[in-house]
């Protein structure tokens, strides 16, 4: 056999310093094979992750958040395939690599936290085993050393009684603790980029906040690039630096989080923001129900012509039904895929 360290772990990581571009996804498109032909689940998504920053990927269920992340990780199901685009990790296009070499980047350079930790962790192995199996299998760390690392990792994610709990199984943990284990296992090889796919949706609200804070702390401390996937803009405010809003498989708005909250440059973002409960304006929660974005997102393969949001948009004009708006810069550091983004922003300023 070829020495493990040489082939499986790509060259030693460069130091991470704030602002380094770690991961750049460009024009990504993913298709699913189905009975009635190929169906686009992601269609021209671009985003960029920098060291020390958190990017939130936001959008309704089914807009392609998970599928695009799985594509980056090379974990798409056999029925899906990347049809276009690149995902460059420090300049190397992961999507152009052989599956084996792509796999080698997983865990060390780009790691992923999954939503449902109970299903995502293996029920028949101890938590300690799962925390360090990559370490042991890829770097030949001894059993003893691995155990020490496992305890360290559990400490890092603030699981009480770490030394004792490493020998327990996932089903013996509560939901919140299990999600912490999931996070710890993704951190085992100190990845540059962590993609967290709805890491807190399965948890109740207080636990949700704790886990998010933990993620944010670890991200800041390690100068990691974090991609936080969520369908809840409310979650984003305290944690993210930048936000990319997705609709029907593509990005429709990108902005620093403050700017986005202050003045959305896309009607879809505006509708999403309206559905977020706000402590300062009780008026919007009047009637006891939050407004949701009216209508439903299109099923992949049935995306409307022109602007894909037009059937649900309260600003839609004739132009929107025929001409697809490109994702263009509308202000420094901001872009929007709406024909009337300038008006929207201007209106907010006026």
């Amino acid at each position: 056999m070829i020495p493990v360290t040489e082939t499986l772990i790509p060259p030693a990581d460069a130091e991470r310093s704030a602002g380094d571009v770690l991961l750049e996804v460009e024009d990504l498109a993913v298709e699913f094979r189905s009975d009635d032909g190929a169906v686009r689940a992601v269609d021209g998504l671009s985003y960029r992750v920098e060291a020390g920053r958190t990017l939130a990927l936001v959008g309704e269920s089914g807009c392609g958040k998970s599928v695009s992340s799985l594509a980056v990780m090379g974990l798409l199901p056999p029925t899906a395939r990347v049809v276009r685009g690149t995902a460059r990790y420090r300049g190397t296009d992961l999507l152009a690599l052989s599956p084996t070499r792509h796999r080698a980047h997983c865990g060390t350079h780009v790691a992923m936290v999954f939503q449902d930790a109970l299903a995502a962790l293996n029920p028949v192995h101890t938590v300690g085993y799962q925390l360090t199996e990559s370490l042991r299998s890829r770097t030949g760390t001894s059993r003893r050393e691995a155990r020490r690392r496992a305890v360290e990792l559990l400490d890092l994610v603030k699981v009480p009684n770490a030394a004792q709990r490493v020998d327990e199984y996932p089903h013996q943990f509560s939901g919140g603790m299990r999600q912490r284990v999931m996070i710890a296992s993704a951190l085992a090889l100190d990845p540059d980029v962590l993609i967290a796919d709805e890491p807190t949706t399965a948890l109740d609200v207080t636990v949700q906040a704790q886990v998010l804070r933990l993620l944010a702390e670890i991200q800041a401390e390690r100068q990691m690039g974090l991609v936080l996937i969520t369908h809840d803009l409310g979650v984003v405010a305290g944690v993210a630096d930048d936000v990319t809003v997705m609709y029907a498989g593509r990005a429709v708005e990108h902005a620093p989080v403050r700017d986005l909250y202050a003045a959305p440059a896309h009607p879809y973002t505006r509708a999403l923001l309206r559905s977020v409960p706000r402590l300062d304006s009780g008026a919007e929660v009047a009637g006891g129900r939050l407004p949701v974005v009216p209508g439903r997102p299109p099923a992949p393969g049935r995306v409307p012509s022109g602007c894909s949001f037009h059937p649900r948009c309260d600003m839609a004009q004739d132009l929107c039904r025929t001409v697809e708006p490109p994702l263009d810069d509308v202000a420094p550091g901001r872009s929007s895929a709406c024909h009337f983004a300038a008006e929207l922003l201007g209106g907010a300023r006026a």
Partner: protein, 334 residues
Amino acid sequence: MGRYILRRSLLGVATLLLVMFVLHLLTTFAIQLNGNPALAFFGDKVPTESQLAAVETRFGLDDPCYDQTGNPCLGPFVERLGQYAQGDFGTNLRGREVTDIVATAAPNTLKLFLVVTIVWFVLGMGLGTAAARRRDRSADHGIRLTSVLIDAFPIFVLLLVYRYVFAVPLNGWAEDTFGAGSLPALWFRPSFDDDHPWATLLVPGILLGLAGSAAFIRLVRASQLESYAGDHVRTARSRGLNERHVVTHHVIRNSAVPVVTAVGLTFTEALAGAVVTEGMMNIYGMGGVLWEAVRAADVALILGIVTILAAVTVVVMLVVDIAYAALDPRIRYA
């Protein structure tokens, strides 16, 4: 874990008692309906009253309940349980201890079983794993088709065809090529030879293993496919582990629970197959002895052997249950 094993053991003992009782009822009713099996002792001769009575006493058939159709004969059952508990399984019609017969027959059956188990386990794990890994590709289709084909030939058909079509020419060819007493010649002997148990057991064992492997291949494939679809496999891959590690530690390991369960079921199937195989290939083993005992209406021998086989099955099931708990922590800590 301790309580789990205790619970399972008690369940096993209860199962064994139930099996013995059902067996007792069946033989009792058979005696009541078909007449006195003690007559079998005399073959074609017609015994006198006193001779018959003596034989009935010796085999415990003198209880009047055997003349009353529908009577469950609980008395003799309890009596027999007491004898079994002291290791006394009675004698066959010729007066030989049942335990003695078992002691000479069991080793051959064990040898047959070893061959069978190795064959079906290797085929099942090997082909099942290969099929799951190449799902919906030609290797997978080929393996599934093979397993269905094997199922189309029950063990006795396989044995019949082998014994009457292939064994003689193969044996002749091997004797011509390698010499009369050579190993290949023994392999293809159409019947068992006590002096060369391993060599003459090999082919029947392989055939029986082949017959048992078909369902096992499909089960291994199905349970591994289920594992492959599990989220935990995706997580393992996201850790950058190589595919071989993922397959052994997250696919095969996780499918071990249903597979071990199937081992228990396949074992009982192989037990039934062994009875047929030993009978057809004249192998002197538990199945062969049972086969003869049934033909000779030797009640004590039938009861003794079936009880021992049932006990072995119960023990295997218990081992399976314990393995099951050892493999799945969710059961262990329940």
